[in-house]
Symmetry: C2
Subunit: 127 residues, 2 copies
């Protein structure tokens, strides 16, 4: 199943690029869209991006999913890990990728598959 370049895919990717370092929810994305792309399509495009490793998904403490381009996702080491924290501002809603890498020592016999670290509070602009 080879991927195709569609208008939706292109436009959504553009938006993600232009809002670099901050992750967008489906809703935020839809507001920024020019065309009227269906909700289900947006989700499907985003999920495909995640599957292909272009984007990583953050689950907020508000229960919503946020999506961000993979920029500093452990490329330094040659691998691709989303082991950084995120910050969600309770005032303006922005979700940002933080720099710090997470390295939590797990108990014996535990195997990590994915990490979702999120701090919420007030960002630089809102505090």
């Amino acid at each position: 199943m080879k991927r195709r370049n569609t208008k939706s895919k292109t436009e959504i990717l553009e938006i993600l690029k232009s809002s670099s370092n901050s992750a967008l929810s489906h809703e935020m994305l839809q507001e920024k869209l020019n065309s009227n792309i269906d909700r289900a399509t947006i989700y499907r495009v985003l999920n495909r991006f995640c599957d292909d490793g272009w984007v990583h998904r953050i689950v907020g403490d508000d229960g919503k999913q946020y999506f961000a381009l993979c920029l500093n996702c452990g490329e330094k080491k040659g691998e691709h890990n989303h082991n950084h924290f995120h910050f969600r501002c309770l005032q303006c809603g922005t979700v940002e990728c933080l720099e710090n890498e997470i390295d939590i020592p797990l108990p014996k016999g535990y195997m990590a598959k994915s990490i979702n670290g999120l701090i919420s509070g007030y960002c630089n602009n809102c505090s």
Copy 2:
């Protein structure tokens, strides 16, 4: 508004105590219940526990809320912080509190209100 001791409150608290160190979702709780407590009531009881500081809420990367008694929530320092990671097993569904305390250095001007750290993977029994 003074809290009252009801059958629901007592029973839910018992269950949380008996499954110490592992957090329960609303669904898990309902399965363990003897009486038929309404879904909305369960949520309301749990939210009250959270408000009163007996319980802390974890938002899983599955988007669900999990609730755990506050046992090792920073009492050592006299304060009450839920700054520890949690582990969710993709196989058996268990959500556990990990020991390690988190201390993420935030950028200047940022203020943390709450931390939600979750690692998912396979637990000791399932890996």
